[in-house]
């Protein structure tokens, strides 16, 4: 029996791109369903009645929601390119940093964006970004996942694309190269990976979204 994989998502959302990148890394065929977030489909509400949010992966009729949970699911079901490390300790570290990106880093950076680069908000964002910068420095590898893209890199897509797009759209500086050389270098490497490039929305789309903020 062949797999039927559907992804309910919104192209332009930094959370929706995560399962797309993972599916492309694994070479899994899927159907992409673009949701209108102001007019959610009956299917989306059926598959995610609790939160009614994208992304939702539906695999042979079984729905999985929450982007990080989806990433782990994709990694467990489809072998091939690994997204999480094998080692229990390394896996725990990857989960920790993925959670840090979502709970601390993205909210702080988003606040700085929405405030149009207000000094205090940017300073707070930089505190969180410094943890990521230090982690890259300590790892001494191309990606958070090591030599290859992994869970944390995929979660940090926001830093690689959305931050730069916001800088362009809003005319603010969020990630200066002199302060975050490792993050800048990582961003360049990350967005140029083939599967990542395919899974990310075009930069102009994200710039366009931010211009309407």
């Amino acid at each position: 029996m062949s797999d039927i994989v559907k992804l309910y998502a919104f192209r332009g959302s930094p959370y929706s791109c995560r399962p797309e990148i993972a599916l492309k890394l694994k070479g899994v065929k899927y159907e992409f369903i673009q949701e209108d977030l102001k007019n959610k489909s009956a299917d989306l509400i059926k598959y995610n009645p609790v939160n009614k949010k994208v992304p939702v992966l539906v695999h042979n009729g079984n729905p999985i929601s929450e982007s990080v949970v989806i990433l782990e699911y994709i990694d467990e079901v489809w072998k091939g390119v690994p997204i999480l490390p094998q080692d229990a300790y390394e896996k725990a570290q990857a989960r920790f940093w993925a959670r840090f990106v979502d709970d601390k880093c993205i909210p702080a950076v988003f606040k700085a964006m929405v405030s149009r680069g207000e000094e205090q908000a940017v300073a707070e964002a930089h505190v969180q970004m410094q943890f990521l910068e230090n982690e890259l420095k300590a790892k001494g590898k191309k990606f958070f996942g090591g030599d290859n893209v992994g869970l944390v890199d995929i979660c940090a897509s926001y830093m690689a694309l959305w931050v730069g797009a916001a800088e362009e759209a809003l005319g603010i500086k969020l990630m200066p190269k002199d302060k975050f050389p490792k993050l800048i270098e990582w961003s360049d490497n990350y967005i140029n990976c083939p599967a990542v490039k395919d899974g990310l929305p075009p930069r102009e789309t994200v710039v366009g979204i931010y211009k309407t903020l």
Binding site: V50, H59, N62, I64, S65, E66, V69, I70, E72, Y73, E76, V77, A88, Y89, K91, A92, R95, F96, R99, F100, K104, F131
Partner: protein
């Protein structure tokens, strides 16, 4: 990795997050050294082992730290292979377990916090909010013995420590609003690992009263 040696837990007796880890370690029969932290005077070890958040619980296994309670529980399951498994083997059910553990963090903890911080009429409203969240969990539980699959695991471990707080705050009326969840609480408390890892509701009530008296 079945080595029981060299396991330290940096903890705080009243923390629901620390209790999750204690339950998981007890389920696996892992021996460990429990070190009580004082949030007003954090040890150098805690600051070194969790420099990002500076919070408990932190599990230190063979000198290496694991932080964030749901992540620690999964680590315990993966590092110690003896039964019981704390997550199902099926990937779809594993995803459900993670989802519901995450739901507890995002919804139960947030709703619970609002109750502990309010009084009188406002508290009544917040209690109703929590009941609505618990009803969702009641729906997920259904006729199953535990939240996901047929076995006690990650999602149950994430939620059960909160039950002591509901009990401590008496008039929550869980039995009436969520009878299946109330039965689930009793079922979990029958597990030795759970009952020996959770404080008595009276101690929680005393702790909260003391905090309020000190203006916290």
């Amino acid at each position: 990795m079945d080595d029981d040696d060299d396991v330290i837990l940096l903890d705080l007796w009243v923390s629901v997050f620390g209790q999750r880890v204690r339950i998981a370690l007890a389920e696996k029969g892992v021996h460990y050294e429990n070190r009580e932290e004082n949030p007003q005077n954090k040890t150098p070890l805690l600051l070194e082992m969790n420099p990002v958040h500076k919070k408990i619980p932190v599990l230190i296994h063979q000198g290496k730290p694991v932080c964030e309670s749901n992540i620690i529980v999964q680590y315990i399951d993966e590092a110690w292979h003896q039964s019981p498994s704390l997550l199902p083997s099926d990937p779809y059910l594993r995803a459900q377990a993670r989802l519901w553990a995450d739901f507890v963090d995002k919804k139960v903890y947030e709703a619970g916090k609002k109750i502990w911080r309010t009084e009188g009429g406002e508290q009544v409203a917040k209690k109703e909010e929590l009941i609505e969240v618990l009803k969702v969990l009641e729906g997920q539980l259904g006729e199953k013995p535990y939240l996901v699959g047929g076995s006690f695991g990650l999602a149950d471990i994430a939620l059960i420590p909160f039950s002591v707080w509901f009990h401590a705050f008496g008039k929550m009326n869980i039995e009436r609003e969520c009878p299946k969840l109330a039965a689930w609480v009793n079922r979990c408390m029958e597990r030795e690992a759970v009952s020996k890892s959770l404080p008595h509701p009276h101690k929680i009530y005393e702790f909260d009263q003391k905090k309020k008296k000190n203006g916290q």
